[in-house]
Amino acid sequence: MQISLLYGLNALAAALFLMTAFLFLASRQTAGSLSLFVRQALLLSASALLQAYALHSLDLLLVAVITVAAKVFLIPWMLRRSLGGTFQSRREVELAVSVPTSLVIAIGASLVAYFVSQPIASQMPSFVAVNLPVGLAGLLISVYALAVRREALPQFLSLLMLDNAAFFAGVAIASTSALWEIIAALEGIIVTIIVALLTRTISERIGTTQVGQLAGLREEGSR
């Protein structure tokens, strides 16, 4: 396969990756957010696969495989299994900031990402030049999404999106070491278990996972 075609397909994956980040910011449904996360993880592994093929890197191949296994299959399965009801019962996620305002802020975030990474990216080969600004933009957007979501599960999904974005830039920069990727992927699973258990406990105790409204304890009679 031609190297320019690989560059092209990677850029396509990057563009779609950025779009899923925006869609995530604009989505109000928990189930939709989860499926966006899965798609974004698929795009991340596509980018890693393309780079593995182009650079003949076994490490990146491993990264792609682990990403698919953990983020496309394992984490969604675990979340659905432990919190299945929450996906269906809460159709509309509560947001601290309205969606149009968030989208304007997302424009600012992507502009900053492109501006900041320009001096580095312009010196680098094409994979980095594409992945670095997109990953950085995804990172900023996920941090913002984390701040404005007022419910535990969407917040956790933003955290996972943040993970995706960091890896999206990461696979392009550090294409020769896979160890930290493996650890990070395992860490993601562990975090999932912890958060799922925590959310379940909160849900059982208080009857909701709207953490934005957890002003007082139940014993004090606030609910």
Binding site: Q2, S4, L5, Y7, G8, L9, A11, L12, A14, A15, L16, L18, M19, F22, L23, A26, V99, P100, L103, V104, A106, I107, S110, L111, Y114, F115, Q118, A121, S126, A129, V130, P133, V134, A137
Partner: protein, 316 residues
């Protein structure tokens, strides 16, 4: 000179005559995908023929604007057709008479007059529909402008015939993030501007929920035929801008000869068919948004377009 003018007229004829078929095929595809018994793709032609034979009723409240608006909205897509590449990859007689911004202005003129006419008819639903259409157009306008900015950053021009060659020079240019995002934003604009799902339901017959359709409620007979035909041409013109200028300027005639042009008509129809399948798939998988959620959909489109522009600037 003369041949280029003739080809330009052929382009107009292609759009005028094939637009109902395009809309009909789109409706047929959608209904078939949704498992309904679909009307024939030729149904729009039958509708137009029926409407042209009927007599026209005009409200006593209506002024000259109401009578003139159908003609204006019918002429507007034709004028735009003169400016864009429909069948050829070389510039034609009117190619440099106006650029994409000019084409946007001309389409805006048509929208302005149909909105005025809807208010003019004194039908309350007309005014509601007109104000909603204006709301959607108001939100679409900046996205159009950002798309044109992106195009001019990449191609150093906004003349459609110059722009069309830019994206297919290399696979890197074709798959560049700016191009992918731009194409995605333009698809969403095409949906919003033509009253398709998720912004408006083209099959809906409930006046209170209508956006695009309710402008035409007071029209009847030949005037309604013209308005409908204009809507079909607008959909086709925007699809052609998407296909021939922004994404796949392939299969176009390179010389003004009859065989080349005939092949181009077939290939362009084929591209339109594929685009119709894409629109049908999008429309089947999405539900209509509530009116105040439309701003979120178009905000999403705006962000996509802006990031396309940012990526175009920084990747140069």
């Amino acid at each position: 000179m003369a041949s280029s003018l003739l080809v330009n007229l052929l382009q107009v004829l292609t759009v005028v005559l094939l637009a109902p078929l395009y809309k009909g095929t789109l409706a047929w595809l959608e209904e078939t995908i949704q498992g309904k018994i679909a009307p024939s793709p030729l149904q729009p032609y039958y509708d137009l023929r029926k409407l042209f034979r009927k007599s026209q009723v005009v409200s006593t409240e209506a002024s000259w604007i109401f009578r003139f608006a159908p003609y204006i909205s019918f002429v507007v897509p034709i004028v735009v057709t003169l400016l864009i590449p429909v069948l050829t990859s070389f510039p034609l007689f009117f190619a440099f008479a106006g650029d994409m911004v000019g084409a946007g202005f001309i389409l805006g003129l048509g929208g302005f007059f149909t909105a005025l006419a809807a208010v003019d008819s004194a039908n309350p639903y007309g005014a509601v529909g007109a104000s909603r259409t204006r709301m959607v157009s108001l939100l679409v306008e900046p996205i159009f402008i950002i798309v044109f900015f992106t195009v001019s950053f990449v191609a150093n021009s906004t003349i459609p015939y110059v722009v069309q060659q830019q994206w297919v020079q290399s696979s890197a240019a074709f798959f560049a993030p700016s191009h992918v995002l731009l194409a995605a934003a333009f698809v969403m604009i095409v949906l919003a501007e033509n009253g398709r799902l998720p912004v408006d339901n083209p099959g809906g017959h409930f006046e209170l929920a209508m956006i695009d359709e309710s402008k035409n409620l007071e029209y009847s007979g030949p005037a309604l035929a013209l308005v409908k035909w204009a809507g079909q041409m607008k959909l086709m013109v925007l699809s052609l801008v998407f296909l021939n200028v922004l994404v796949t300027p392939l299969g176009l005639a390179a010389s003004p000869t009859a065989p080349a042009l005939a092949t181009a008509i077939v290939l362009v129809s084929f591209k339109l068919l594929i685009f119709a399948v894409l629109i049908a798939a999008i429309e089947t998988s999405l539900a209509k948004l509530r009116l105040f959620r439309i701003s979120e959909f178009l905000g999403m489109t705006f962000v996509t377009a802006v990031v396309a522009m940012v990526a175009a600037i920084f990747h140069m």
